[in-house]
Each structure stands twice: as structure tokens, then as C-alpha cells.
């Protein structure tokens, strides 16, 4: 995926300025940067939820997104939330993914009946249930304890194997085990050293 000289402003506030990067179609990319540096904006542009003011993004296929907020449908159970994106011919996938994130017993509960960490895991399962070529995970470990973080990171990595996985995080060490490409975003100024595919973020 090629991001070419992308600029994005909101009401005169330039969030990304002439930002360029290459993201491998097959592998893990970790995007880091301080709060407000434009990481989420970048992922929204990649997902096609917004258009850049200038520049272009050469994106391939469908994109699945785990938003920074859980964004679960409140009137659907955990299972229904995941199954809604899995497709009719993939009904078993929702149950399998919920089991993988340790929520098999809570599958029939509504989001309001789940803790923050449980809701996050449902959202992770939902993002993984969608068949896509690119997976964007924005702060996937938010609200998870260290043990769950490990399990979730390994599940995300294995489920998206052979696809493009983009993780936005303040804690890049969670994904160090999968030797990611690192991209540092800082208001549009890309750190040249960080874009090298050496696992350093």
C-alpha cells in the first residue's frame, strides 16, 4: 500500500502534512506517535472513511477496522455483533473468535452487560470476523490486562496472517514478537529511520 504525499486538515488545523509511507501488503505495520499526531486520521484515510485534501492512497481490497472506541451495536448480543460482519456462510466464525478471545460464555450478553475489557475483546473479534485484505487496529489493547493483551496480540497476528495488518498503538512492544514495520507519525513529519522494516518502532 502506497501513501503518497497525503495532506489532511480539519478546519484550518493541518493534521497530516505531505505524509508519505509504504505499507507492506503482507505483514504487520505498527504506527506510533504522540497523541494528536495524526495516527487515527491516517487510519481513517487508509480505511476510506475520509478523503485526503491532497495526495493519494493506493489501497487494495476490503478494509476491516477496529476503531479506537468499541462501537458495538447496543441492541445486539456479543455473538450477533460479531456474526453481523462475518457473513451468512461464516456463521461458525463468530463463535470461534469469541471463544478465542475468552468470551464463549458471554456470547449472548449485550454490550451493556459486559465490562470495558470484554467489550474491547468483542470489538476485536468483530474486526477479525470480517473478510478483508487490510486490517486496521486502532489501540487494540485499550482496557485489556497484560495476560489478555498477549493473547489478543497473538490472535490478531495469526488471524491476519498473509494479510496487511496495521496497528496504531502507544505500546508497540505488544507487537514486537511479530517483527513489524514501524511508522512514526508526527503531524505529518515522518521519521525516516522508523520506516525501515527492521522491527524498530
Amino acid at each position: 500500500m502506497k501513501i503518497d504525499s497525503v495532506t489532511k486538515s480539519y478546519g484550518g488545523n493541518k493534521v497530516l502534512s505531505d505524509f508519505s509511507a509504504e505499507i507492506p501488503d503482507n505483514g504487520v505495520t505498527v504506527i506510533t506517535g504522540r497523541s494528536g499526531a495524526g495516527k487515527t486520521t491516517l487510519t481513517r484515510l487508509i480505511a476510506g472513511l475520509e478523503k485526503p485534501d491532497s495526495g493519494s492512497i493506493d489501497r487494495r481490497g476490503r478494509v476491516s477496522v477496529l476503531f479506537q472506541e468499541d462501537r458495538l451495536f447496543p441492541q445486539l448480543t456479543a455473538r450477533q455483533n460479531v456474526a453481523a460482519v462475518a457473513g451468512v456462510d461464516n456463521a461458525g466464525k463468530a463463535d470461534r473468535l469469541l471463544k478465542e478471545v475468552g468470551l464463549a460464555d458471554a456470547a449472548d450478553k449485550f454490550p451493556s452487560e459486559l465490562s470495558g475489557g470484554m467489550r474491547r475483546r468483542v470489538a476485536i473479534a468483530r474486526a477479525l470476523a470480517f473478510e478483508a485484505e487490510t486490517y486496521i487496529f486502532d489501540e487494540p489493547m485499550k482496557g485489556l490486562d497484560p495476560e489478555l493483551k498477549k493473547t489478543a496480540a497473538r490472535l490478531i497476528f495469526s488471524e491476519t496472517s498473509g494479510k496487511c495488518l496495521i496497528v496504531v498503538t502507544h505500546e508497540p512492544e505488544d507487537f514486537e514478537f511479530c517483527n513489524p514495520v514501524g511508522i512514526h507519525v508526527d503531524g505529518g513529519e515522518q521519521d525516516p529511520a522508523a520506516s525501515e522494516p527492521d522491527g524498530e518502532v
Binding site: L49, S64, A84
Partner: protein
Amino acid sequence: MKRALKKICIAVFVAAFWITAWYLIALRVDQELLVSTPASVGRVLWELVGQGDFWGSVGMSLLRVCEGFAAGVAAGTTVAAASFLFRPAGHLIRPLLTVVKATPVASFIVLALVWIQTDNVPVFISFLMVVPIVWANVLQGLRSVPQELAEVCRVFEFGSLKTLRVLYVPSVKPYFSAALSTSVGLAWKAGIAAEVLCRPEFSIGGAIWRAKITLETADVFAWTAVVVVLSLILEELLGAALKKWGGRSA
């Protein structure tokens, strides 16, 4: 069980209190022509329920109001959806519905008598009462749909029907239910008022009008009691249906 019994006791006490108050007023006025006693109204009611015409009038009045109500709900929802999807349509329709809301129902009944067949006037009036309420509530519901969930539907490529089922229907449901609860009583009262003025065959309103011109005050009271009881039954039935529908479901 204990709670239900307490509720019944309170209801009986309240009813007894007001019937006693009514009885005392009737005694004080001491003119059946002005205020009938509860006993004479009860007698008339007892006679009425034994007559086939009574049930015919009740059935036909209910049918007319339900027709107008259903048509009003359908039209109000459609216009709200159109106003939401096409802003210019919303701008065009707003003043019209504001005028309908502000105009006295009697004016519309008189105008409708000129415009349409007598039998259809109560249907039309009930319809008119419902449309602005349903329109305003459903439009507010549509505007309150969480945009972050709309984005989820876009990302996961939900089609129109799935987006409607998963996002729009649940978001609009509370507003829609509130509109139905508010408008059913209004449609019923306005429909009966229209019947009083246009007097279609087999109608509660027509019976009230006939009782009035023959100075049968007890009959007016009895028919009014029928209107009140039916209004309560309609509201209860609708409330129960909405409660059932309001349960969480996909």
C-alpha cells in the same frame, strides 16, 4: 400479588371517590337535564350494551379511527424519511405540518366536510392529527442515529436493509413508540369529534349528537363514558404492543 392487590385497591378507591363527587354534584344541581346521576348513566349504559346498534357504532368508530391512525403513521414515517434523506423536502414539508399542528381541529372538520365524503371525514381528521406527531418524532429519531455506528456499517459493507435493521430501526424505535403513544389518544378524540359534526351512519359521535338534540343528557354521559373507556383500552393495547416490540432483538 400483594402489589397487584394494592394497585386494584387504589384504583377502586380513586374511582369511588370521583363517582361520589359526581353523585354529590348531580344531587346539588338536581336537574337530570344538566348533570345526570351515575345511576341513570349506568342504567343507560346497561341498556346500550344490549343493543346491536351500540356494537355497530363502536365497531365502525374504531374502524374509522384505526384507518386514519394507520394511514397517519405510514404517511408520517414516509415524510420523515424523505425529510431526512432530502433536506429540501424537509424544508418544504415543515411549514405545512406546523400549520396542521397549530390549526384547531374544528376548522379542519368543517373544511373536510366541504372537501370529502361525510363517512371519510373522521378517518381524514384522525390521519391529520397523527401525521405531524409521527413526522416530528421519527425525524428526530433519524437525526439522533449515532454517526460512529453509521461508519461501522460502512466499513463492514452492510447493505441498505441490514443498516436499516441493525442501526436505524433500533435508534428510531423509542421516538416512534413515543409518537404512537401520544397520537393514538389524539386520533381517537379528534375522530369522535369529527363524527359528532358529520354524523356518519353507525358512529359514536353520531349517537352523542342525537342524544344531545333530544336532550338525553344521560345518553350523552353514557356515550362519553364509552369514548373514555375505549380510549383507555386503545392506549393500554398499544402500550402493551410497544412494550413487547421494545424488547431487545436483532
